[in-house]
Symmetry: C2
């Protein structure tokens, strides 16, 4: 079942086609790119039936149920959402061509830093077929060629989507490449494609991300891991703390910006722990805790937390609670165990909040708000490629600007170096 | 000869010490960092004799001569230059703490993107001991801990320098770590130090850089390779072309921004090739060329260029010349063979120049200026860590700002996600 748009090409040939397409994509004007995106959105809607048919094949072959099936499932509404998302990307400002900064040197050289496409973006992802359309739209808007390596469970859906997107009139040949999803070799060749691919973005679970980070010789934007904390300070507004803890933990527990750990100031632990434990239990959240938490919550079912719990990303309705002596201990705990994605303090004490914001070494640090806001849409970017948990290139939610690089254009009148 | 400042520590322990130092470095104020840098400069001058003595040991043990010995050699003047460079870094603006952008969301969330240190920077480099001082200064100015893995030929010099720098009163403990330079294992452990090290910057020859890029699981800023081109268009001011070609090729042939290739518009090849060949020959430059060049230069000694020549970085007084039909062919040639560092066009034709600036996919593209200006100092950055030849994080000459990351501070009043 080696399903690909052009089944006779090797992975290497596909990467070379993307590389060859990149300069043509870089030359497209904003209007041309937006026109292509709008045409893609129309085509997705017009071809909805064939997309659903391909998706049914995937669903039958995979035989999955529950959450995994739900991630793979396409419906007419989800197809409409893909088309709408593509139109939204068309409406966003184009970062390519922007002059970031320009200056003149004493010797008369004019130096201009301009935003340019990255070139070829490689995406390694899992079952959700909407990622195919989302990432193609973001790559096209930023003038990049894209190489997609989706999950094998979504092979027919992705093939159909890429067929539709690739058929857009005026799209430079080779701009979208779909790799064979049935072998690990295609991932290996993609992430070893130094000189052909400019960045690899893994989107999926920890195993996938670790595999890509550990084996890629192409630069990677590491995304996704999220062992997020909420710290309730002594001076917290407890009604606000209720809302934030419940929202951060339960609103969508399977995503990376959901809270996994609750740190509690010892000064309010005896009063507040039973109160929040009751609400968490009512939402079906499994409770784990350190010794003090177990003691304070003697009337609740609380499993003693092990060392492994503090580093674990549950991605389900489970939370581990620890009582700390104050903001300093909370910061030390977070900087030790956090995946440096999103962490929050709930406090009315501004100096504690400022300290927490400054000292917690995470991509997004919150004061009196839910960690669930770490998202390109919620940040106002109009789209999202992922949440970077590395410090190079971009950190936190990222979208269009981060899919560009820059170059220096230097204009002289015969200057030479002395 | 496992020379290290504290010889009992393993590489892993050194990385952990740097990691532990990072938050303390991040908390230093600009004034504190500048004070440390000025104290370091004073100490380098005061301890000059012991640095020279250590350097003599390295020179004796290595037994090298010529250019390699020159790279390793320290003199009183070079030590003064290290101290002066450190003072210059102290005088530069501090990028850390700067608010890059801030905005308010419709739900009232205030989002602020602030510049923060990267954390721990790892440098893998070769013989020049001044790199030790330069990189420590840049890392300290940007609030980063630094792990140095220098060349074994400079082991005594680097040890002495790190001893002096580490002894600076007020420097957070563990801020500067020098790894054992005698084993490849220390490099391996450094570049596998995911979670302990935030970025690796290799500085040196192609072999070193390739080894780091291909084996690191820590993000890398790839530096250094430079197969740079000068294209002489038909309308070029030939006196300007003379100056630029000679400067780009001969002013310092061993560095990455020196020209290695000359592309010549066929319309002026018969007139201009003998003229520039004469000047290059007078400067002792070995000439290679394609068939047309060999024909035009029949009265010169020109070795026929092979396919390998077009991709080679000579780093010495040798140049390969190719006759092209015009700017389009020049662009195609450069995008195929260039290492995407620095490439130049010499022309009086503005539309050709604009096309070249836009279409040549290199970090720095020049119109009527020498490629030798690709340098942090020449760009006005006041310092330089290297020239990035990758597209992620930074591209082209980079210095202080590129040694920082960012984080989002999000301030709310109890917002939760709907």
């Amino acid at each position: 079942m080696a399903i690909t748009v052009n089944p006779t090409l090797s992975t290497r040939e596909r990467l070379e086609r993307a590389r060859d397409a990149a300069p043509h994509l870089a030359e497209l004007s904003t209007a041309e790119k937006n026109g292509l995106l709008l045409a893609m959105a129309d085509a997705i809607e017009a071809q909805s039936a064939s997309i659903l048919a391909a998706n049914r094949k995937d669903l039958e072959l995979s035989g999955t149920t529950g959450a995994i099936r739900d991630r793979l499932l396409l419906t007419p509404e989800r197809i409409d959402a893909m088309a709408a998302g593509t139109r939204e990307v068309a409406a966003l400002p184009d970062p390519v061509g922007e002059t970031v900064v320009e200056w003149k040197r004493p010797n008369g050289l004019l130096i201009r830093k301009v935003r340019v496409p990255l070139g070829v973006i490689g995406i390694v992802y899992e079952s959700r077929p909407n990622v195919t359309v989302d990432t193609v739209a973001l790559a096209l808007k930023t003038g990049n060629a894209i190489v997609l390596r989706g999950g094998k469970e979504a092979a027919y859906s992705n093939q159909r989507l890429v067929e539709i997107l690739s058929a857009t009139a005026g799209l430079p040949k080779g701009a979208i490449q779909l790799l064979d999803s049935t072998t690990r070799e295609s991932v290996q060749e993609l992430i070893q494609g130094r000189g052909l691919v400019d960045v690899i973005i893994p989107r999926g679970g920890a195993e996938l991300i670790n595999f890509v980070v550990e084996n890629s010789i192409v630069p990677v934007i590491e995304t996704g891991a999220g062992n997020c904390h909420v710290f309730i300070d002594k001076s917290a507004d407890l009604a606000m703390a209720d809302r934030i803890v419940i929202n951060a933990k339960t609103q969508r527990p399977s995503v990376c910006n959901a809270a996994e750990k609750l740190l509690m100031h010892e000064g309010i632990a005896s009063a507040y722990l039973p109160r929040i434990a009751k609400q968490l239990s009512e939402q079906g959240v499994e409770l784990r805790g350190d010794e003090a938490t177990v003691r304070f919550l003697s009337s609740f079912k609380v499993q003693p937390a092990t060392e492994a719990d503090w580093g674990e990303e549950y991605l389900r309705l489970c939370i581990a609670i620890r009582v700390v002596s104050g903001v300093d201990e909370a910061i030390v705990h977070i900087n030790r165990y956090s995946t440096k994605n999103s962490d929050a303090i709930v406090t009315e004490n501004e100096s504690n909040a400022r300290l927490f914001l400054r000292a917690v070494d995470s991509a997004a640090v919150y004061w009196n708000a839910s960690t669930r806001f770490s998202d390109g849409g919620e940040f106002g970017f109009g789209a999202e490629m992922g949440i970077s948990t590395q410090k190079l290139h971009c950190r936190g939610p990222f979208a269009l600007v981060e899919l560009t690089s820059s170059k220096y254009e230097v204009i002289g009148s015969g200057q030479i170096r002395a």
